[in-house]
Symmetry: C2
Subunit: 239 residues, 2 copies
Amino acid sequence: MQSHHIVSAYDDELKFLTRKIAAMGGHAERMVDQAIVALVNADPELAQQVVRDDATLDEAEREIDDRAIVIIAKRQPVAGDLREIIGAIRISADLERVGDLGKNVAKRVVAVAEGRQPVSLYRGLQALAELALTQLKEVLDVYASRSVERIEFVRDRDNQIDAMYTSLFRELLTYMMEDPRNITPCTHLLFCAKNIERIGDHATNIAETIYYVVTGDQMPPERPKQDKTHRVTLAVDTQ
Amino acid sequence: MQSHHIVSAYDDELKFLTRKIAAMGGHAERMVDQAIVALVNADPELAQQVVRDDATLDEAEREIDDRAIVIIAKRQPVAGDLREIIGAIRISADLERVGDLGKNVAKRVVAVAEGRQPVSLYRGLQALAELALTQLKEVLDVYASRSVERIEFVRDRDNQIDAMYTSLFRELLTYMMEDPRNITPCTHLLFCAKNIERIGDHATNIAETIYYVVTGDQMPPERPKQDKTHRVTLAVDTQ
C-alpha cells in the first residue's frame, strides 16, 4: 500500500507506527515472561522491575495516539491508510493492557511467595503463559507480515488457552480445599491465571483488528467463548 | 464546536456517535445492574437475559467504529472534531468491555447459587456495584455535557471503589478459610468483585478520554493505583 504514496515523509510516519507497535509487542511479551519467572522463583526484585517497566508501555501508547491524530489531521488518509492508523491506536491499547496484566501478575509475587505451593501449579501457570505468549508473538508476526490468511490459528489457540485455564482453575480450587493455608496464595495464583488467560483474549482482539486493517471487514462477531470457569464447581472433599 | 460546521449533515453524523455512546452507556449500566440482581436473588433466567443482552453492545461498538471511519474518510476532520470521533471509538470500546464484565458476573450466578453465602457478602457486592455504576453514570453525564471541569471526582471515587473492593476481598478470603464448602462460591464472588472493580477502571478510562476530547491534552499519566489486593494475605485461623 505504501508504494502508492507520493509523499515519502508520509510513508515514514506510517512506518513509525508499525515499528512502535512491534516494539510495544516485544516489551509486553518480555514483561509477561519475566513476571512469570519472578512468580516461579519468588523473586521480588525481578517483580519490581516488571512493575517499573510498565511505564514504558503507557508512554508508547500515548505516543502512538498522539502521532496517529497528527497523521490523520495532516494527511487526511482514506481507506487502507486510515484503517492502518485506527488499527495502530487499537492494537497499542491492547498491548498496553497486556503490560498491565503482566504487571498485575508481578505485583502478586510477594503474596504468593508467602505460601509454599506445589510445583505442578507453577508448571501449569508456566505452560499457560507460554501458550498465551506464543499466541501474542504469532499475532504480532501476522501484523508485521500482513499475512492475514493465517489468522484462523488464533481461534484454535484461544480455545487451547481456555481449556488449560479451566483445568488450572479446578486444580487451584482443589488445593484450596485441601488446606486453608493454601487459600490466600492460591487465590492470587487464580488471578494470575485469569490475567494470563486475558492476554490470550487481547491477542485475539489484535488479530481481529489486523483482519479489519487488511480486509476492511470485521471478523464474524461470535467467537467461541473463552473462559469456561464460571461453570466450575467442585464437590467438597470432606476429609 | 458543532456551530462551526457549515454542513449540517456532518453535525448529524457527529451527533449520531454521541447518541449511540449514550445508548451504549445506558445499556451497559442496565446489564451490570441486572447481573447483580440475578446474583443476589440467585435468578438464572435473569442471568441468561443479561448474557443475551451483550450482543447489542458488541453490535453497537462495531457500528460506531464503522461510522467513525466513514466520517473521518468523508469529512477529513481536524482538531476538536477529529478528537471527538477518535474519542467515540475509544469510549465505545470501554463500554463494550463494561458489558462483558456484566456478562461475566451473570455467568457466575449458577456457580454461586450452589453454595449458601452470608447476606453480608451480597450486601458488600451490591454496594461495590452501586459505587461503580454511579461512577459510570456520572462520567457519562460529563460526556453528555462536556463539563470536563468536574472530572476530578472520578479519581476520588475510583479510590473509594478500590478500598471497598480490598475490604470485600479480605472478607471473602475469611469465609473461604472458615469452611471449605465456601471456597468454590466465594472464588466466583471474588471474580465478580474484581469485575465490578474493573468497571470503575473503565469509567476512569472514559473520563480520561473525555478530558482528551475536550482539552486536546492527556490527563497526567500516573493515577493513584487501583486494586491493592495483590498485597492481601491473611493469617490462617486454624480452628
